[in-house]
Subunit: 217 residues, 2 copies
């Protein structure tokens, strides 16, 4: 527990809050006490606000991209890694019969820890921890954008920064009604730069954007 608090750079005034944050329902069902679910409910909202505030002020990302980026930064896959790095899966109070924790449970434990810090000391302390561990730095945010955002959105972002206009054009559709293939072109500054096909117009456009992005970065 001391090791965890030193990793967080935060010492709980109320150590019971920390204990609750790490108590799985399999343990509280057996031995009494509260489990982490209520703290996780609260921590989830604290995390969303701190992340939203940060990325809102990160350049002028449009609202669609903001939503995707936030979803990436609070996703189970992303938070379970932080939880593991903190060793929460080894500190958790759980029933012996529960052998391994799911990714979702690991992510939830991190959220409940945030909820506990928020209750213990308020938003600013929770914010520091979130900025340290979730946001990390601007470079990390940029790499999350790369991983979590679809190709069409990324392309739009990139081309807007370059001041270029673009459009997708449907070139052809073929096949029977229930099994069509669509072919689209991506046109940047009046030039066809990429061509791709797919089972829906959207998929064809995604493929088209992906092809072109690979030529750019």
């Amino acid at each position: 527990m001391n090791n965890l608090q030193s990793k967080l750079n935060y010492t709980f005034k109320d150590q019971n809050l920390l204990k609750t944050a790490l108590t799985h329902s399999s343990f509280s069902n057996e031995f009494g006490g509260e489990s982490y679910e209520r703290l996780e409910f609260l921590g989830d909202a604290v995390l969303e606000l701190v992340v939203s505030d940060y990325i809102y002020k990160f350049g002028q990302l449009d609202s669609g991209l903001l939503s995707k980026l936030r979803a990436g930064l609070v996703s189970t896959a992303y938070l379970k890694q932080i939880s593991q790095d903190l060793g929460l899966d080894r500190l958790v109070f759980k029933s012996k019969s529960l052998q391994t924790l799911s990714d979702k449970t690991k992510a939830d434990l991190f959220e409940s820890l945030i909820g506990a810090v928020y209750l213990d000391s308020g938003l600013e302390c929770a914010k520091k921890i979130i900025e340290n561990l979730v946001i990390v730095d601007d470079q990390n945010i940029r790499s999350v954008i790369k991983n979590c955002v679809d190709y069409k959105t990324k392309l739009q972002e990139t081309l807007q920064k370059l001041g270029k206009t673009f459009e997708y054009k449907l070139v052809s559709d073929s096949g029977l009604d229930h099994d069509k293939t669509f072919e689209v072109e991506l046109i940047v500054d009046s030039q066809v730069v990429s061509k791709a096909s797919g089972k829906s117009i959207h998929i064809a456009q995604e493929n088209c954007a992906e092809n072109y992005l690979h030529t750019l970065c």
Copy 2:
């Protein structure tokens, strides 16, 4: 605008933020400037945290009920009413071709207003407005619980408070495999208090819980 600010009991330091909060994309597309979507993204997270914090401290509601209650308090149906009461649909800057606003847009306008207050003056000011208009008082929270929670959860809550044990018992199922009807009983303190049927066990249990709740409140 002055009327709105007096209803909010809040005057914007930066009146441009208020203007952006009320600018629909149909207007900004035509005349330039930013629309409310980014502020709405931020306001949504502010609203979630303030509501979560309040209902977390409202008794000892379990995490399932907390999630449903929060969803009810930030739902489109709930927020669009607040938005209408504030007259946001009459104040919005929109293109003339956009005749009426959808419920979703009305709710979004309220969220963007919250985002704007948060940026203008911080969390405490946004919190006051949310507590005034969204949370209102404990009686309102109790009535939202009544409206947004399913009967089984409500029944569980009620019986736990009364210190009573209960169970649902499947009495029979009849009909063909793809069109079965299930009949269940609700047993409270070893007594059958309600009986109902439905096309799934869950629906039958819901009906059973509803019947019994009507005899209680």
